[in-house]
Structure formats: C-alpha cells, structure tokens
C-alpha cells in the first residue's frame, strides 16, 4: 500500500496519451496570433490538407532565429528587411507575400500630445517627442519594434535614451498592458489592439498613413540547410495560403465589424 499506490498513480498519469498526427511547426508573430485569424485558418487547413500546424508564437526576431536554427519548418512574419536577409543567408528558400494589416497609434483618451490631427505617422511621433509624453516601445527586436524604430528615424527623433521613452522588451499584449497601466502612447497592430481586453483609458488616436501598412510574408525553411525540415508540407501549406480559399477566409475575417487583413498574394 502507501507509497506504492502513489507511484502507480503517478505512472498512470505519466504514460497517459501522446497524440501523433501529420504536423509541422511554424513560427508566427504575436500580432498575427493575437488577431485570432489563426483560430479561423488552422481548422480549415486541417480539414483541407489533413495537416496540423503547430504555432510557435514569438516576435519576428526570434521567429527568424528559430528558422535559422531549423527548429521550425516555416515562418510567417512581417519585417521585409530581416526576411530578405533570411533568404539571402540561404536559411529560407524564398519569400511569399500573403496579406497585410496595419499599425495604429494608441494613446491616452485626452491625447496630451495632440496626435489625432497629425497628417502623417512621423508627424504624430514628432508631436509625442515634443510633448515628452510617455511612450511604450516593444523593445524586443520584433517586426513591430523594427517598424516603430524606422518611423522614429523618419520623424527625426533619434535620441532613444530619454526618460519618457520606455522599452519594455515584451510581446504586444504585455506592452499594451504596460501602456494601459502608465496611460502612455504606444504603437500596436490593429488586430492586437481590437482584441486587447484591458484598454483602460487608452484609445486609438492615429491610423491610415500608408507607411503603417504591415506586410506579412511566408518563408519556408531551406531543406538543403536542415534535412529534417518537412519541406513537402511547407510547400503544400504555401499553396493553400495563396489559394482562393485562403483569400476568402482572410478577407472575410472581421472583428467588431472591421476587416483586419487584406489578402495580397500574387
């Protein structure tokens, strides 16, 4: 009795069910996952292809590292520069554009820096810098972070070592939580913002500048570099992602009556 029963019970739990199906691993960005689009697409992919896609939800920087190390079979990210370097380095076979969504500027409802009336994203950021309003940055080398840095460069505000600029080094959700707590400005993708449940006194203040468009691309990992990669499945998934079926699902995906993604695969 006694200890033996405990061990037996433990062994029962330990050996319990391991599922095995056709599966591939894909690294995607937090912004894609937070949008909820994955929950729509994955069941359809499973139904159409019989393929289970395991998502690793990380920032673009880490997604690319995972692809380089061969730990995933494909990546779906949004930072063209890093993607081109990934393909140039021979880690991915090619880059296929799938769809885009857009970034928006979020801030305190009363808008102390008056960015709501800005004519461009760069001008809005310039106004935040001029007013020295608190601004939360992802600071995690993700696609969103890289986009934000490029916009600051355009606005002419390159000094990052200032007290009002807060780098949190976290995912979109965690960064939004921080901005909500500090009542600060932040740049977010539209989907993450709409789905975010802890808005507090924050509001969407600026959107629509074409530079804020955010292109997602699919990059299969190069099987020449990593022999174990499921290149066949990665190719099938790519064919599905650029199909009319995917277009219908992606364009038809709405949240609060707003279309979040625009399919633009050629």
């Amino acid at each position: 009795m006694t200890i033996r029963v405990v061990l037996a019970a433990a062994a029962l739990v330990v050996t319990g069910g391991v599922a095995a199906a056709e599966a591939m691993k894909m690294a995607v960005t937090t912004s894609f996952h937070n949008s909820g689009l994955a929950d729509v697409l994955l069941p359809e992919i499973k139904a159409d292809l019989g393929l289970e896609v395991h998502l690793l939800v990380v920032g673009t920087g880490q997604a690319i590292r995972l692809g380089e190390a061969g730990d995933v079979d494909a990546i779906l990210v949004h930072s063209k520069k890093a993607e081109d370097a990934f393909v140039a380095g021979g880690f991915g076979t090619h880059r296929t554009e799938i769809m885009y969504n857009d970034f928006v500027l979020i801030g305190p409802m009363e808008d102390p820096a008056k960015i709501a009336g800005a004519r461009s994203a760069a001008e809005a950021l310039g106004a935040i810098a001029a007013a020295e309003s608190q601004f939360v940055s992802r600071g995690d080398d993700s696609g969103t972070h890289k986009k934000e840095l490029s916009l600051w460069a355009v606005s002419g505000e390159v000094e990052r070592d200032v007290s009002w600029y807060r780098e949190v080094g976290a995912g979109m959700g965690a960064a939004l939580n921080t901005a909500s707590g500090m009542n600060a400005y932040i740049m977010s993708d539209r989907a993450s913002w709409l789905k975010f449940g802890n808005k507090g006194d924050l509001a969407l203040l600026f959107a629509g500048d074409p530079v804020l468009f955010n292109q997602y691309a699919y990059l299969p990992v190069n099987a020449d570099k990593h022999g174990h990669v499921r290149a066949g499945w990665a190719a099938k998934l790519e064919a599905w992602l650029v199909s009319a079926r995917a277009k219908e699902l992606i364009d038809g995906y709405q949240m609060n009556g707003e279309q979040l993604f625009t399919f633009n695969a050629k």
Binding site: T2, V6, L7, A19, K25, N34, A174, S180
Partner: protein, 234 residues
C-alpha cells in the same frame, strides 16, 4: 478587485462545464511535472541520502553547491536546455525541442537539486539516530541507504512534494523549451501567461485558480494515499 471575483466565477464555470481545453492543458501540466518529479526523485533521493551517509573530502562543498542550486533560475535552465536541444545544438538530432519531453528535461534539472537537498537535510537527522545501530549490525553502505530511505519515507515525500510545488507553478523554463504550442506543449502556467498578454485577466485568473486547486488536490491525494498525519501516528 472586480476581476478577482470574475476570475473565481469563470474558474467555477470552466470546471463545472468540463471545458475540453482546460482538461487537456491541466492533464499536460500534471503529466510533465509528475514525470519530472518522479525522475528527479529517483536521482535526488538516493543522492541526498548518499551525501548524508558518506564522508569524503569535498562533501561540504558539494552540499553547499546543492543548496545553492535549489535557487537555480528556471529561465536560465530553459535557455540552456533550449540551446542544447535546438536543431543547431549538440542534441538537435533527437528533435526534442518544443515537445513535452523537452519540458520534462528542463524541470528535472530544476527539481533534482531541490529534492536532493531537502532529502539530505531529512536523512542527516535520521542518520544521526541510526548511525550506531546500522554500524553495529555491520551493514553495507547500500543497505544503510536503503534503510534510511525507507524509514525516512515521510520526510522524503515532503521533498518530492516540494519539488512538485516548484514544478507545477514554473513557467520560465517550460515557456522557452516548450514554446507554448496549442494542443502540443501548452500547460496551465504558459496559458496564464498568454491570456495575461491578451489582457484577458478574468480567464488568466480563472486558470490560476484551477492551478492552485490542482496543486492542493494532488498534495491532499498523496497525503491521504500514503496515510500521513493520521491519529495516533506522528
């Protein structure tokens, strides 16, 4: 404050409706941590006992190191295991990264020093008591360790449960080596972290309450099965 009440209600709702996802991730949490505790106990309990019985030159140093390793930062363990198991790392050929096995490996590394250390403390006192008897019976070292392990089993159970407590609530290491993949490596703690990131505090809290309930339930079950703390017995 409202959110805590909301979280409690949501937790009750999830449990009563036998939510399929909740059951799946709870079972995976249990499977990963119980396996890790089992393996860590098999290594840690005899190791702790051996350290109590055996006298050798660097004993004090080894014990101090073991005690220090009880505070091993999970996130660092996760990162090291991640690098080792990555396809580009030395053990990449096994393809273990982002599987429950990787999570178990990381937890074994975190839990073994803890279990060994606590069992060493417990056995040391017992050894002081048994020392003369076991020596005079002319037992071998193996026999002494077996006797001490058996007679100290209740204290050792505490060591294993402490390991369980640390493992079931751990998020840093398993997030890195498991990747929090839905239906593959998502467990309660990583799901809580995910829902917090989405700002879904009520759901995150609900999962938190389920996690606490699970930890309490496992402890109660093990205690009642092993009949500790019963009347007339200390």
């Amino acid at each position: 404050m409202n959110e805590i009440v909301e979280g409690l209600l949501k937790a009750g709702q999830l449990i009563l409706s036998l939510d399929a996802d909740l059951i799946e991730i709870s079972l995976r949490s249990l499977r990963v941590t119980l396996t890790a505790v089992l393996i860590s106990s098999v290594i840690g309990l005899p190791l702790g006992c051996w350290l109590a019985v055996r006298r050798f030159r660097f004993r004090r140093f080894v014990i101090a190191t073991l005690n220090a390793l009880m505070g091993l930062p999970p996130v660092v363990v996760g990162l090291i295991v991640y690098i080792l198991l990555s396809r580009s790392g030395p053990f990449g050929v096994f393809g273990l990264l982002f599987t429950p096995t990787a999570m178990i490996i990381a937890q074994v590394i975190i839990l073994t020093p803890l279990i060994a250390s606590i069992s060493h403390q417990a056995i040391r006192d017992l050894w002081a008591e048994y020392h003369d008897l076991l020596i005079s019976l002319n037992t071998t070292r193996r026999q002494r360790i077996a006797t001490l392990l058996w007679d100290g089993r209740r204290a050792l159970l505490t060591a294993a449960l402490a390991g369980f407590g640390r493992g079931i609530g751990e998020v840093g290491a398993i997030m890195i080596v498991g990747g929090n993949i839905d239906h593959a490596t998502r467990v309660l703690t990583t799901a809580i972290s995910l829902e917090t990131g989405k700002g879904n505090f009520a759901l995150a809290l609900a999962l938190g309450f389920v996690l606490i309930g699970l930890a309490v339930a496992v402890n109660l079950i093990i205690h009642s099965l092993s009949r500790t703390e019963r009347s007339g017995r200390w």
